[in-house]
């Protein structure tokens, strides 16, 4: 907080930031489909000069409420470092993929 100037510089630059992403894939996707989806996302992250630091697969969980008539979903969490500009592409990918019921990308470094 004390160094507001450097923070502002960092915001506009291409410094890598810590992110956390969770997405909920539809339950009928299968292992292969899930792997495919995950590959595509990791590819997108690395093509934005990002590096993945952790992947947690929570597995199939019951949803708290039905989404698109599904009652379960595959939850996958990923932590990664990436430049801020890269989130747009990642966001687009997740938004357009019909196998993804929900997703959440959060910055975790502040």
């Amino acid at each position: 907080m004390a160094s507001t100037d450097t923070e502002l510089v960092a915001d506009t630059g291409s410094e890598n930031r810590e992110y956390e992403m969770v997405y909920v894939a539809q339950p009928d996707i299968g292992d292969d489909g899930l792997r495919q989806l995950n590959d595509r996302l990791t590819q997108a992250i690395s093509s934005q000069q990002g590096t993945i630091s952790a992947t947690e697969v929570w597995g199939k969980r019951t949803l708290a409420y039905p989404i698109d008539k599904y009652f379960e979903g595959h939850y996958v969490l990923q932590r990664f470092q990436m430049a801020a500009a890269g989130t747009e592409e990642l966001d687009r990918l997740l938004r357009l993929n019909e196998n993804v019921l929900r997703y959440l990308i959060l910055r975790t470094d502040d």
Binding site: V22, V24, R61, T62, L63, A64, Y65, P66, I67, F71, G73, Y75, L77, L101, R102, L104, L106
Partner: protein, 134 residues
């Protein structure tokens, strides 16, 4: 004595926040305002708005969030977050949780993130629908 019963009652409710949806009033009884039927026997002299009556249950309400540490507040920490929901899945007000404004802010944000990911319901009847199907 009735106080004691209330405590245990409420604790079970907190553990399984969405179990008893049919009984909408059960929640209201244990709310901030002491209900006359609850405390009538030992404090029948109290009249007027119940909110003016001394709060015996302050200790209990404070307990909801007393052991919350900032770094534990997270949209993934469902056991913690569900303590801040009532039986119908609504977020408890700060008046009931007695946590600091800062903590409440983070909790509310986390609950909303968790709801988006279907980790928590928006309303309790959503959970009922899911339970029925499974």
């Amino acid at each position: 004595m009735s106080e004691q019963a209330n405590l245990t009652d409420n604790e079970t409710e907190l553990d399984v926040p969405f179990e008893d949806d049919n009984d909408f009033d059960a929640d209201d009884d244990t709310d901030d305002a002491p209900v006359s039927s609850d405390t009538g026997d030992n404090r029948s002299a109290v009249t007027g708005p119940s909110s003016y009556a001394p709060h015996e249950r302050m200790g209990r309400s404070r307990r909801i969030g007393s052991d919350v540490r900032m770094r534990d507040i997270n949209y993934k920490n469902i056991p913690l977050l569900s303590r801040f929901l009532d039986a119908r899945g609504r977020i408890l007000s700060r008046r009931k949780t007695r946590v600091t404004a800062k903590v409440q802010r983070y909790i509310v944000k986390s609950i909303k993130h968790a709801r988006h990911l279907a980790l928590l319901p928006y309303t309790a009847d959503q959970t009922r629908i899911v339970r029925k199907r499974r």
